[in-house]
Symmetry: C2
Subunit: 397 residues, 2 copies
């Protein structure tokens, strides 16, 4: 990997025993050398885990120094003790890093309804703090430390040439479905050494999430713990961004978020295909998004792609029930670049050849065009395989 690494951050990921079945890292500690502004976007689930409530109360912020993440236990549905444990995690970091507890944010992912083993957590925080560094190896350990059922760590970054000088924006993420033991979660941390005020950081992050993490679906099940955090410490680049620099950074943050969102969809449980759904020619982006989401969430579309079946009937009918009125006689559909449905009518096409193409490539492209306007949306999902059912049915709480 050649990923640009932002300056002024030190990270680590260690195994402390929250994950009892493996030796995989289960605590990640991220420290900014100076106070960073911080923005957060959180789950839309009514039921929010303790760390989500805590972070939501602390962001946007101007004075964040660290993020502590544990995997293996979501600290969700854990009542007052869970709230105290989330706060206690910030205090543990404060003690070993000599920073204020209020300057620490928390993320958790894993089993819900079980109290955190706080002794393990303390051991993990101490161990992680002893070897904080900014190397790629430390970034990778940090990316592994937030994983649950993910098969691969997820990381992406950009180097942005700004008028202020070069800055970095780099993120890690985890998530592969709302899977076991009780559920998984989508978490991401983005770090930049650009200077940003808290409101601008929040605006940039909210916009980037809208076009990335809000546009993916593995099984449509929104977790109690979903969290995306952005820290900006302005390391070696104090000052204020020019308008042009802000546009550049905004674009780079969005690109990194899209990379990570795609990586989550591609790593969906049991996935054998990453599916990109484009809806073009809509009268509004919101309508295009609804149609793309309906297609992405259809088990019939997802099983069709798993079976390498260019099944236009399932796709157009899913578009039809998205709750968006459109003229069915204006609908075109292409799969992997082959037009198979035009102006509401199926075309003749070589189904065997297209099926072979779907089967032999990991990425499948579905493009729906409505010819009603100029707005569009893009959504990512994965196919639905026997392996998904196996992973999620054959586990017992």
């Amino acid at each position: 990997m050649t990923i640009p690494l932002p300056q002024g951050y030190r990270l680590n990921g260690v195994h402390c025993g929250i994950k009892q079945q493996s030796q995989q890292e289960d605590v990640t500690l991220i420290v900014s050398d100076s106070a960073a502004t911080a923005a957060g976007v959180y789950t839309q689930n009514v039921i929010r885990a303790a760390p989500v409530e805590l972070d939501a109360s602390r962001t946007p912020a101007n004075d964040i120094r660290a993020i502590i993440v544990n995997s293996g236990n979501a600290n969700a549905c854990t009542g007052a003790q869970g709230d105290q444990d989330a706060i206690r995690m910030t205090q543990m970091v404060a003690e070993v890093c000599h920073i204020p507890a209020e300057s620490v944010l928390v993320m958790s992912t894993g089993i819900i309804g079980t109290l955190l083993p706080m002794d393990c957590v303390q051991t993990g925080i101490q161990a992680a703090a002893q070897d904080l560094a900014s190397s790629l190896q430390h970034w990778e350990a940090a990316a592994r430390g937030i994983m649950t059922t993910d098969l691969v760590p997820k990381m992406s970054g950009r180097l942005v040439d700004m008028e202020l000088g070069p800055v970095h924006i780099t993120g890690i993420a985890k998530g592969s479905g709302m899977i076991g033991p009780n559920m998984a979660t989508m978490l991401s941390v983005l770090l930049t050494d650009a200077p940003l005020d808290a409101d601008t950081a929040q605006s940039i992050l909210t916009e980037a999430v809208q076009d990335s993490f809000h546009c993916i679906s593995v099984d449509g099940h929104t977790s109690t713990n979903d969290t995306v955090l952005l820290l900006a410490n302005g390391h070696n680049r104090p000052g204020t961004l020019t308008a042009k620099d802000e546009v550049s950074l905004r674009q780079a943050v969005k690109e990194v978020c899209i990379d990570l969102a795609r990586a989550i969809a591609a790593d969906g449980e049991g996935a054998s295909h990453l599916i990109t759904i484009d809806v073009a020619g809509s009268t509004s982006c919101a309508d295009a998004h609804k149609i793309a989401r309906a297609v992405a969430n259809s088990p019939l579309v997802k099983t069709a792609i798993a079976g390498a079946d260019p099944n236009w009937g399932r796709i157009v009918s899913a578009a039809g029930y998205a709750g968006v009125p459109f003229d069915p006689t204006g609908l075109d559909l292409a799969i992997n670049g082959t037009m198979i449905y035009q102006a509401g009518t199926p075309l003749d096409f070589d189904a065997e050849q297209l099926s072979a193409l779907i089967r032999d490539t990991f990425e499948t492209s579905i493009v729906i065009t409505l010819h009603a306007g100029n707005a569009g949306a893009r959504f990512w999902t994965c196919d639905l395989t026997n392996e998904y059912v196996h992973i999620n049915a054959d586990y017992h709480t």
Copy 2:
């Protein structure tokens, strides 16, 4: 089966070759001896098959004499030729039954995007018309003639003692998911010998569908062909219903619809459990319905039940993302009568015993109580098994 059969209707189901892979019945003809009022409820999909468009233009009506149904081909996404074929089916029935073509309704279910083999259809209509009768055997043949991937024919009825005298309301239905080849569909026909004006028939049917067929989900994929029809011929019971009789009939129609809807959920592709989801204590029925639907459509809930896992985390988190605000600390959850989550907190329970109970019984009950109001809703779905993926991934268009 001891099912009350309404008077003044003759039915039949025959095989004519639309289904090429089997000798299963694929044409059902239903004839009322006298003009019947008719009501219809149709798919909410923007893309509607030709027979749906035709029936929707003809109902509510006062003068319906017959319904012709074919399975194996949905006559959907078939353009102008499809529209003509649907009309031609009504003309074929008119010719053999000596009734007006405008008094015939049509339903189709099966493959989409392929023109109907009209020679087969004509042969089927002629054969069915030669042996129309009102026996239970003929009802069963009619119920089989509308099936696609259903494993069992679906039929239910009630005898209603009204002030006007005894009347019958009996229905057949098909559906087991939006399955292959391209999709299946939910179809149902309800016949009563009670007298009803067209507007009352429509009102009774709309209300009954709201609490039955609109409350089931196998895979959340709404078909292009979904249709429920109600005929009322007032056979031997001419006149007008009293207000009390109308209430009795309204209740009976709803009960029959619920029976049939449950039967569809129970016959969902690959289903090993019928799941009933009750949401109580909501501030509105619409909100309760949304929460029940979110739980019913969650692949994680459905795989958990397939695995006999009393996984409260997946259920309460699905309730949490239904788009309905509620106080999480007021939520109770019971599975199969065992309270496992109360006032937002998991309870101690014997997970092994409850798991064994789920595994050993076909029906699973999930009851969510919000303690916010007096409104509620009930929803039915089935579990998600490897067999569902097998059925839907291993088919090629």
